[in-house]
Symmetry: C2
Subunit: 444 residues, 2 copies
């Protein structure tokens, strides 16, 4: 089985980056280029995104290098010269990067990151940068909605089995942690990122035992705080059985887990059975096809659910499984660049995003030129200099930053329904004027 | 940046697999268990799935082992005993696997794969097996629709930048190759899998040059068969410029690429300009937000597009970004197992899937007991014995098998619209009787 790691990650590149790089190299086009990485339009079900993945993106840039198998493969293709392949073998990323901090809410057309590097370098890192930031921003943005819907009750991620591959399974836990998810079932993420790992039991365990009571008894004998899965045969009968085991044998489960049926109704009935049996401290976990809408409906109905275990819908961002992420040339050799493809405007030049607060609440953003000072808090800051990472916040700091900055958004923007009006994030007059004058100069 | 590879892949495991495994181990529950890996219900926009990922899944099983960091982490958690962690350190997968061949069309409730192994082993491989087979089956199934829509015109995958992480970016190319996609832009996949890699040029290349004609000229000087991107400023003006360069300077592009606007209309107009300029051999590539529905509409409208470049929608399987994949205990210690959770029936025991052909066309499947012989072609065959892989078809063979077997499906099943009636894939009478008698015996 083939895997991607630091050695071959540079080869996770669209072939055209390499053909273009060879052309730049041949043409001597190695002047500084500035690329903006941004989401053009947000999905209809996202009022904001949570920028995430920067740390991994910077590590990828720092370690960017083509390995032997990649160089051999390229040398074997007729479109690449040996001289270019030799040049590629020595290539490292030497550029500058400015970016918004991980956990920052961002909006359409706002650069999450700006790369400045010699043109071939800046072009060659496009695919890997995009892949890295797309995944974690996508998943943090989805998870923030689930966390919002849960209204303070913990959310646990149970989705890795249906994540899109192993890398998504691992890094989802990182993005989810930034977005406020309380834990994951992913053991590898636990020791990789130091995030809380949690688990209950599966149907197979109950099925494999001669009877359900035997399964509960055996599990509780080994684990003093078990979370018992109760829907293998009949949910409420299982809860009644737990109450009997509590009465007769002193069973004290930390929680039960509901996994099918009408979760709201079952939670009410299960709560009543548990309380009547004196198991007031036994919590109720719910799982089974949950997404932020389902969680919000259960919370609104007052369902006595203590922990939401969310799987597939969150880890594949089911309602919006991709972002309209782009990496666009905005300046080359000191001159602004744009394009005129319909519906995809590009504002030229180096930028800054300014966030304006009013009474502690974010009210609007201005996407400006880097040299403007319209007021507001600038979001883009240097994170890499000469190909070396500068210090970036630790994962827990990114989580804290996300919590603080999401809380600063207007309630209509934090809500699940489309914000009306959307949060204003518009280009400054100066930036728009630059774009128009560039278009005009092209027409002349 | 953290990566998953052979060393730590076993830790891509839901924590509950480990807590259950410790419980089985303590309870001496190491008798053979049989688990079915299947998709319960197909997404509404899938008439069939294309089984894919088996080779990687078998390699994962063969190499399954917990490494030092995983064992240290588990030993540090209070729920695991050192004795169990020591046992885990020695654990390898020793079981049997039967599976359908990669490329085989499969339907709801049909096991793609059946694992038989001592209970703790069979339980511990659940997450990794599911993650591996889910990704590639999901993507092969989506791609088969795009290939069908293209009606014989090549499809090229341009999506890796928005794939969910690096592993999905790499393995998508494998799944797409099985499903009939003609090539990928993914350089790493090119030398990893030996699949065709293709590329054109990006807007940045055109933007970075002083003018579009200069960009085309420079690119063509280096690459004798260039594919020129024409929508950076004005699509038809760019095509007219290419015709001028052909007339004045002998430019002979292999193709142009349309990337925005009304692709069908632009293709007609561009084709006319190219033909009028004598560039009859210059093909038209189209890209930009394509999915199978858009491709089918362009084909139906007779758009003169020669190659479809499909990105995000295919690589995230946008209309159905997850499958209802499950891994269910169906037998333990020689006795069938089921569960009664509403809407999720499980048929007990070892199985076989029988495909019935009529005049070379697949007409129905029967999901039977492994010991039945109702006729039809059995789809599940041994692929792993005692933890060792048996020979499985090479990637190109899987692609040929997929082509042959998809062509055998009824036209209504191959079509994009929901098949009416759906392809019949039902449990045999004997299998259903086993399920009902097991439920009955539980009630007694």
């Amino acid at each position: 089985m083939a895997w991607v790691d630091d050695r071959n990650a540079a080869s996770l590149v669209d072939l055209y980056e390499l053909t273009m790089a060879q052309a730049y190299w041949r043409e001597g086009m190695d002047r500084p280029a500035v690329f903006d990485l941004l989401v053009r339009r947000l999905p209809p079900t996202r009022n904001y995104l949570v920028a995430c993945g920067l740390e991994d993106a910077l590590v990828a840039l720092e370690r960017f290098a083509f390995d032997g198998p990649a160089l051999d493969y390229l040398a074997s293709r007729r479109e690449f010269s040996q001289e270019f392949v030799d040049w590629l073998a020595r290539l490292r990323f030497t550029g500058e990067v400015r970016a918004v901090a991980e956990g920052t809410p961002v909006f359409g057309n706002e650069p999450l990151l700006e790369v400045e590097a010699p043109m071939p370098e800046a072009q060659l890192v496009e695919t890997l940068l995009m892949n890295t930031l797309h995944l974690q921003t996508l998943l943090a943005s989805k998870a923030a909605r689930v966390v919002e819907a849960a209204a303070g009750r913990p959310v646990i991620d149970f989705g890795i089995r249906r994540a899109h591959g192993a890398d998504a399974a691992l890094k989802s836990a990182r993005a989810f942690h930034v977005a406020g998810v309380g834990g994951t079932s992913d053991t590898l993420a636990g020791y990789t990122y130091g995030v809380p790992v949690a688990g209950t039991m599966a149907h197979a365990y109950v099925q494999a035992h001669a009877d359900e009571a035997g399964a509960f008894r055996a599990f509780a004998a080994l684990y003093p705080d078990p979370v018992l899965l109760v829907d293998t045969y009949d949910t409420l009968a299982a809860v009644a059985r737990i109450v009997e085991l509590a009465r007769d044998e002193g069973l004290r489960p930390r929680a039960i887990r509901l996994d099918s049926g009408d979760l709201g109704d079952l939670a009410v009935r299960a709560r009543r059975l548990l309380d009547d049996g004196g198991l007031h401290d036994t919590a109720i976990f719910a799982s089974g096809g949950l997404d932020e809408e389902a969680v919000a409906a259960l919370v609104a109905a007052g369902a006595p659910i203590d922990v939401f275990c969310v799987g597939t819908a969150m880890i594949v961002s089911a309602d919006a499984p991709a972002l309209d992420l782009a990496y666009k040339l905005v300046e080359y050799d000191g001159r602004g660049r744009t394009k005129l493809s319909p519906g995809k405007p590009i504002w030229p030049g180096r930028k800054q995003v300014f966030r304006f607060l009013d009474g502690g609440r974010a009210v609007r953003d201005v996407i400006g030129r880097a040299d403007e000072a319209p007021g507001g808090r600038p979001l883009l800051a240097p994170v890499m200099c000469g190909g070396r990472r500068l210090a970036t916040p630790a994962l827990d700091e990114a989580r804290a930053l996300a919590r603080r900055e999401i809380d600063r958004l207007p309630a209509r923007v934090r809500a699940l329904a489309p914000a009306d009006p959307p949060y204003p994030a518009l280009p400054s007059e100066a930036l728009e004027a630059d774009r128009l004058s560039l278009i005009e100069s092209r027409r002349r």
